[in-house]
């Protein structure tokens, strides 16, 4: 995954990079191989897309005639609609494949499905899959671009990027360096958390991951391995079950969804107990800084990981996240489609 690229010379985490970085990734499978200057390029491109979305007619011809296919092996409304809206805003032709109605239910393999979609003309494949790493398999055989819309527990790069964009909008100077970000919830099963680890440690944030011990399994080993600031371009982060410690003086508070299956799996006694000990209620959120923002990648279980009054409070930026999601996805489709023609250095399989 993190094969070194020439842009790896990110000098200082989170610093303002130079402006002449070009996009050279053929696929976007995770943010781990995206360097800080490249992330900054995505953010600047998203700014432009936000400008388009502010117009009365939210449509530009940038991807006119380009074919975007969404292939979702897992139920998702907001992510799929967000990608398809983004693609249509750029005038791309959109084909939507829902696996419940496709040959996948007849046992067609991922490899065959991807080959078929390519033969049908797909150029950019937006993929959601319940198995970690599945988009890497697709990227190995697909002749176009693969954009990961979430794979298993592994990665959800567009979510991490829209989260980062939203945080930058609300932090002075758009600078996350030294800013405390607390993510509370089911870290173990969360692709959102994993992608956010890469992007937020690249941004220089003071990242805290928090949840019950059963939903943090293995994450401490990751945090320990990075405690020396080992991985170039990424800072350390914290893992804790102490929700007060995680939230105290935070600039950003993010709740992650708790799924009912976790009770059947013996990982949690009850949703009630989770809400009582880890749920983001007004009292807990008051531990964070007064100006702190509250985020959630959705869909929310109100009353479980987030109290209803917190979710609709003035601190909550949850609907902004959704709106920014369209702009970030427009930016990525635009960059991947090679709108910057000269930018393609071609990185096979990445």
């Amino acid at each position: 995954m993190s094969v070194a690229t020439e842009a790896d010379a990110a000098p200082v985490k989170g610093a303002a990079p130079n402006q002449d970085v070009v996009w050279h990734h053929r696929h976007l499978l995770d943010v781990d191989v995206v360097t800080w200057p490249e992330i900054d390029l995505i953010m600047r491109t998203t700014d432009e897309m936000k400008g388009i979305l502010a117009r009365p007619i939210r449509k530009v011809p940038a991807l006119n005639g380009r074919r975007v296919t969404t292939l979702f092996y897992e139920a998702s409304t907001r992510t799929r609609v967000s990608f398809e809206t983004a693609a249509r805003n750029l005038s791309a032709d959109v084909v939507s494949v829902a696996t419940a109605t496709s040959s996948v239910t007849k046992g067609e393999s991922l490899v065959d499905t991807v080959r078929t979609l390519e033969a049908l003309g797909a150029e950019i494949l937006v993929m959601r899959h319940s198995v970690s790493g599945a988009p890497y398999l697709a990227a190995e055989i697909f002749g176009g671009h693969v954009l990961n819309g979430g794979d298993g527990w592994h990665a959800h790069p567009t979510q991490a990027l829209l989260d980062l964009y939203t945080m930058r909008q609300h932090l002075p100077g758009g600078d996350l360096r030294g800013r405390k970000v607390a993510i509370v919830g089911d870290i173990l099963h969360s692709r959102v958390a994993r992608s956010n680890i890469w992007s937020l440690t690249a941004a220089g944030a003071d990242l805290w991951l928090c949840g019950p011990a059963t939903l943090l399994r293995g994450m401490d080993r990751w945090a320990t391995a990075w405690s020396g600031g080992a991985v170039p371009g990424h800072g350390r982060f914290h893992v804790t079950s102490d929700v007060e410690a995680a939230l105290r003086d935070a600039d950003v508070v993010m709740a992650l969804r708790i799924q009912r299956e976790r009770m059947q799996g013996g990982l949690l006694p009850s949703l009630r107990e989770y809400a009582a000990r880890f749920g983001l209620n007004a009292e807990r959120v008051s531990l964070a800084k007064p100006e702190a923002i509250v985020m959630h990648p959705g869909p929310m279980n109100e009353g479980v990981e987030i109290a209803p009054d917190v979710a609709i409070s003035g601190r909550a930026v949850i609907t902004e996240q959704v709106a920014n999601g369209v702009a970030v996805r427009m930016a990525l489709l635009y960059l991947l489609a090679g709108a910057h023609e000269t930018a393609h250095a071609g990185e096979a399989g990445r």
């Binding site: 970690s132 790493g133 398999l137 527990w153 592994h154 692709r191 293995g218 080993r221």
Partner: protein
């Protein structure tokens, strides 16, 4: 310095008696006598007529880094998939692959369909072996339970009469401690072992990769060390209990993969329990970081203080991640666990290297990582992987050969009934006996490709890689099992 069949142009075909084979100036390794050095071998009419150890001027220039002659290898753990999964492997393709890997004897696991839980299935395998024409000796383990379902004991006595060398529900552990106790007692009465795949299935439900740093980053469900350690603890406790009633009860733990479980076996052996174990080439030489895209050997991933180096830090990620060929049970572990496998081999805790050759079809393997079948097609690459340990100075050549020959034979010799069969015979370079040997060239590297593998299973994580030790010829029981297609071509 390639081997010189006396009449290469019209040499024997696979299965035919080797009428005359002479090899001058090679490095001989005889793990029975513990001797190795320059020498010559002559095979006449299938018999190893002479083994000459050279000294002085005659030995000049012959090193252990060139052509090596060793006794034929013995794989105590392989899956040839017949009957039931012939699209993945057959006995015929399996023995061809084995011979290409230098093996002259293989012991097959019973997880076929139907399972080898009664003698009829064994007869089917034997008949396929005979039909293959290959002289590679095919042994088999019977299932512990009917259909490997973990409920009733298989036809253990009939299977013993038919010649199985032990019992295993491999692919899965013997389901309950109660059944394991019965199996150890009954098998012990028959003079045979239970070979246990040690895994706590509750802890590994849906698990994908060794629990730890790599699995956490990749978002793969963790396969905890405790799943193997707790199973080994259970097995040892049950063995100790069974021995009070049946002193001939024997336990063999196969493909151990963690430092902690090997330590349990080390202590149990020191306490005198009749338990043996083995390790695989992939658990010795690969580590979980390969799933992230690393391809360095496990010992290259070990820091000086015994911890793992970070492949994300030191630029070790050179291949695409999530290669399903790396999905295996037990999973690839940390570099420290791999080092523990090697230490166990060196101090005798582990007696043998076994391949756990597990061929799979493309349909079962070229899928999403978490949906891929477990297993590595490894019987043809085992020698090359073990030689990588030798090349790196981690394992003396003589010990490597012993782990592939006298090691597994010595394990079988611990099982009273099997000890009386040819499977337990001493595997040395002994004059006057049917020639059973392999000749390989450590200086001749070969590339692992789908075409170079004789196995139907192309599910090797080493595809594209070069290994040292090209096998030039394998002779089993005096008959030709394999000959390198290029052998003799480059003679002047």
């Amino acid at each position: 310095m390639s081997p010189k069949a006396s009449d290469a142009a019209v040499g024997p075909k696979v299965g035919e008696t080797v009428e005359r084979f002479e090899l001058e100036k090679a490095w001989l390794v005889d793990p029975v006598s513990g001797r190795e050095g320059p020498g010559e071998v002559v095979v006449i009419d299938g018999i190893l007529e002479s083994v000459v150890w050279l000294e002085g001027a005659e030995a000049a220039g012959i090193t252990a880094e060139g052509v090596v002659v060793a006794p034929g290898f013995f794989d105590l753990h392989a899956h040839f998939r017949e009957p039931g999964f012939e699209d993945a492997e057959t006995v015929a393709t399996g023995v061809a692959a084995a011979a290409h890997g230098g093996y002259t004897t293989v012991a097959l696991m019973p997880n076929t369909s139907p399972a080898l839980d009664e003698p009829g299935v064994l007869e089917r395998i034997r008949s396929a072996s005979r039909a293959s024409g290959s002289p590679v000796e095919v042994l088999a383990f019977g299932a512990v339970s009917v259909g490997r379902a973990g409920e009733q004991l298989s036809a253990m006595g009939e299977l013993a009469d038919a010649g199985v060398i032990g019992y295993s529900d491999d692919g899965a552990p013997v389901r309950t401690p109660k059944l394991l106790r019965s199996a150890l007692l009954y098998a012990g009465m028959l003079g045979l072992p239970v070979v246990e795949h040690a895994e706590d299935l509750e802890l590994t439900a849906n698990a994908e990769a060794n629990e730890g740093y790599v699995a956490s980053i990749l978002g793969l469900q963790g396969w905890p060390t405790a799943a193997e350690v707790s199973a080994v603890s259970r097995d040892l406790a049950v063995l100790e209990d069974a021995l009070r009633d049946e002193p001939r009860a024997r336990l063999h733990l196969t493909h151990l993969s963690t430092a902690a479980s090997l330590e349990l076996v080390r202590r149990a052996r020191a306490a005198g329990l009749p338990v043996t174990c083995d390790v695989t080439p992939h658990h010795l030489a690969f580590a979980d970081e390969w799933i992230a895209g690393a391809r360095r050997w496990s010992w290259e991933a070990l820091a000086a203080d015994g911890t793992s180096r970070d492949p994300w830090t030191d630029g070790a990620l050179t291949a695409p991640p999530y290669n399903p060929a790396l999905r295996v049970n037990p999973p690839l572990r940390t570099p420290a666990d791999a080092a523990a496998c090697l230490a166990a081999l060196l101090d005798g805790t582990a007696s043998a290297v076994v391949t756990d050759h597990a061929p799979h079809t493309v349909v079962d393997k070229e899928v999403e990582f978490g949906r891929a079948s477990n297993g590595i097609s490894g019987i043809e690459t085992a020698l090359g992987v073990v030689l990588a340990l030798v090349d790196a100075g981690k394992l003396p050549l003589g010990r490597a050969i012993a782990a592939l020959t006298t090691g597994p034979a010595g394990v079988v010799a611990c099982w009273p009934t099997a000890a009386a069969t040819p499977a337990a015979r001493k595997r040395g370079l002994t004059e006057g006996e049917p020639a059973d040997l392999v000749v390989f060239d450590r200086a001749d590297r070969w590339q692992v490709t789908p075409e170079s593998l004789r196995s139907k299973g192309k599910n090797s994580p080493l595809l594209g890689r070069e290994l040292s030790g090209r096998v030039l010829i394998t002779i089993a029981g005096g008959r030709l099992a394999y000959e390198d297609p290029q052998a003799g071509d480059d003679e002047p």
